[in-house]
Assembly symmetry: C2
Homo-oligomer: 344 residues x 2
């Protein structure tokens, strides 16, 4: 274990947030260096991801999977380097990605766990390692499944995506273009929208300055919205639903705009009238249901990347101690691109 | 044209309703007896249907298809007897059903029009003629498509249906039972719920007396709602959505509870949180999209009927002059079973 420390810094949940998460939602502790058991590997964390789904994991109320209790290690995905292996397929020096890192400097992984708990090999010849936390990882799979499996845009369709310069949104827009559809971005700054234009989006709406979002979407989507990929929820959701075209497909991926509200307080447009008149469909998406498609999706996305058919932007913070800052930045929409933290 | 009158009474739209439709929404006029052209048939109306979709047709705002302008004949389906035929396949005395009757005592039909405008033969040996306006017609197809094609209940699923003793609701619950699912009725009186019990529904909720509908649904659906067939919209919709089980399917068929409101004033629970957490799907249903399945659906429903596998209740008003009354009765939920009018 050359070069490893004797202790392992970890971020644990201090308390379930009451409303917005704050810097006090987590606290850092020193733990003993973990020991890999049979079939396990010890990894040094190189990159950690912050993602909106984590807000659900730290909620006091139930979520779709087991959350984090106060005092427990914060959950999250990362990329690391194997430094000790009790598993025949893994060797020190290998790069590995897994959703099971947790916010810590060293992690013990069980590479053969099923589904989203699996450890995946990271090949630095294909992409920089942090891509395994973005376009070549969970957010990429989210965009892929939402578009290719659920929304299925056809050539000529208009695809509207909120949080368009974020981890999932960037890929949604570019997959829309790869499918021959028109892509319309919603984002919170003109800089973000300029980046979306560089990615190939056909139009953009700055929700902070647009005023009447229903009218703004109608202007940017004159034939109506065939696919709405919703990462934000809230008033943007209502404005998009008011503009659905016939037989529209709405993927509900996130609700970052209202995620600090209790679901029963999240009030807005009832979709019934629009859904009936347009015969549209709304589908909730949890990417962890779709892990069986991960290898297929990653191979396809890697091929698009190899052919230079998409671009991607990360927002990098340096330093393990900045994990809460990175999370809060993303929740406030102050990141520009997929938020990651370079740990080592 | 033995036995026919020289004039044809018709209900025409007097004015688009502002809010609720009233008795003054329509007025009756005398028109000349219509003359069938080549390939057409003249029919005497025996039964007319009133259905919630008609509220959309008389709205001033746009709907999914062409509505009725003031002064125009009110649209609607009916069953009649052929009294004059210029079509080789039809003979005087034949019984015929079509969505293109209109609210009038005599109608000229073009039997070969495509889709939902087609004229369908009514066989009185299979069922009483008015069944062609209910379980062996459009409402039956609505329930069939919503359940068999969209919601696809599995054995053990709990299927919740609003307006459960209505034209569509009765069939939804019984199709749920035929698929091995549990059926839970929501209706507006204990008499209606008693009837639903006779039909085989496992439980019922009287929305007028239940108080907290979210809690009432939780009590009647302890494992959550796997399928919600929504005929009403409004607060019942919200209460059902708050009780979705994982991978639930919601069919939005109607919104009679809020149909007099403009869509942009219909505010309630935003479904995002529940849709994501439960990975559920909401689909708007317009039965006229599914007319290509009509023959298949009617054959299957007729077979269930022949085997005595379901029952059905009509609410019959007598007299052509009562068409507006019948419509308003249904909109108020004062009908008990599928509302039809016996014209002759």
């Amino acid at each position: 274990m050359t070069g490893t420390a004797s202790k392992n810094r970890q971020w644990v949940l201090a308390a379930h947030p009451d409303g917005k998460a704050t810097a006090d939602t987590w606290r850092m502790i020193d733990s003993p260096m973990p020991e890999p058991g049979p079939g396990q590997i010890l990894v040094r964390t190189l990159w950690l991801s912050v993602d909106p789904y984590m807000r659900g994991r730290i909620a006091a109320a139930g979520n779709y999977t087991k959350g984090v209790a106060p005092g427990e290690l914060m959950q999250g995905g990362g990329v690391g380097e194997v430094i000790l292996s009790n598993h025949p397929a893994w060797t020190p020096g290998d790069l590995v990605e897994s959703m099971t890192f947790g916010w810590q400097e060293y992690a013990v992984l069980s590479p053969d766990l099923p589904g989203a708990a699996r450890a995946n090999r990271v090949n630095p010849d294909i992409a920089p390692p942090e891509a395994a936390l973005s376009w070549l990882g969970m957010p990429g799979l989210t965009a892929y499944v939402g578009m290719i499996e659920i929304a299925r845009p056809k050539p000529g369709d208009t695809v509207l995506v909120s949080a368009a310069s974020g981890a999932v949104g960037q890929m949604v827009g570019q997959i829309a273009k790869l499918q021959g559809a028109r892509a319309v971005a919603i984002a919170g700054s003109d800089d973000k929208l300029a980046w979306c234009r560089e990615l190939g989006f056909d139009a953009g709406i700055n929700y902070r300055t647009a005023g009447d979002m229903k009218a703004a979407i109608a202007g940017a989507c004159p034939g109506g919205v065939n696919v709405f990929f919703d990462n934000t929820g809230g008033p943007i959701h209502d404005a998009a639903l008011a503009n659905l075209a016939t037989h529209a497909r709405v993927v509900i991926c996130g609700r970052i705009a209202v995620v600090d509200q209790a679901p029963e307080d999240d009030i807005g447009l009832r979709a019934s009238a629009r859904l009936i008149v347009t015969r549209s469909m709304i589908q909730g998406l949890v990417v962890f249901d779709w892990w069986h498609l991960r290898d297929e999706a990653m191979a396809r996305i890697a091929a698009w990347h190899r052919d230079g058919r998409f671009r991607f932007r990360h927002d990098v913070l340096d330093g393990f101690e900045r994990m809460p800052e990175a999370f809060l930045r993303m929740m406030a929409g102050d990141n520009f691109g997929k938020q990651v933290v370079r740990v080592a």
